[in-house]
């Protein structure tokens, strides 16, 4: 048996106005919860700043409800909308 654990990828989405420190704040939340950041992308879509971050929550020290609460706090501080959702919801919506 191999020791390799299965990954559980979630997508964090940030929408709002771009400003200094968004990535830093989010990376800090993730590091504290032992969540690995797998990928980061960002774009301006319909004049809105959109950043997506793929994270692996398999080894997370806290549950989804707590991650969500911490992200909500960051969102409030920085006037951003932040969501976290399992990657499979996007696969189900966009892949055949």
């Amino acid at each position: 048996m191999t020791e390799q654990k299965a990954s559980q990828i979630c997508i964090v989405t940030v929408t709002g106005v771009d400003r200094v420190g968004i990535v830093a704040k989010l990376a800090n939340v993730m590091a504290r919860a032992n969540i690995n950041i797998v990928d980061i992308n960002q774009k301006i879509l319909e004049e809105t700043f959109v950043m997506t971050m793929a994270v692996d929550v398999a080894e997370s020290a806290i549950g989804m409800d707590k991650i969500k609460a911490r992200l909500d706090r960051v969102g409030k501080e920085m006037a951003l909308k932040i969501t976290i959702q399992d990657e499979n919801i996007f696969k189900a919506m966009h892949r055949v």
Partner: protein
């Protein structure tokens, strides 16, 4: 292939701006083994079963909401048709009403939005218990 920013944004906007949700999740519960010749025994077992499974449904639904970030608007339970469960009991309105209230109370306690099953399958004729149930409906 990983999902693109555009695709993610499209789905996130559906939930944030367009109220995309899962309208209802439903759990079917078989109550046939709760049947009793005594109404108190029947209602007690039915109550316990619905509350136990209903709370479990709510916990599972909450986990799904957290995992996928899509709200679930209604949690619903469907049970064995009431007329079947009332077959061995006295054919009185009081019996039917007491059972209906037990269903209602259990759903309320488990925080379930809808409970279906207060009915009878009469497509091939009716039994006395089924007629009694239909008569008891205001």
């Amino acid at each position: 292939m990983r999902i693109s920013v555009e695709e993610v944004y499209e789905t996130v906007r559906m939930t944030l701006d367009h109220h995309f949700d899962i309208r209802t999740v439903t759990l079917g519960i078989n109550l046939k083994d709760c049947i009793d010749r005594d109404i108190a025994g029947l209602t007690q077992r039915v109550h316990e079963r619905i509350v136990e499974k209903g709370q479990l449904l709510n916990r599972c639904a909450d986990l799904i909401v957290q995992k996928y970030g899509i709200p679930i608007t209604n949690r619903r339970i469907g049970v064995t048709p009431a007329s079947l469960l009332l077959e061995p009991l006295p054919r009185t309105k009081a019996t039917v009403v007491r059972f209906a209230k037990a269903l209602d109370g259990a759903a309320r306690k488990a925080n379930i939005d809808f409970l279906g099953g207060f009915g009878a399958m009469v497509q091939k004729g009716t039994t006395a218990a089924e007629e009694n149930l239909i008569d008891a409906i205001p």
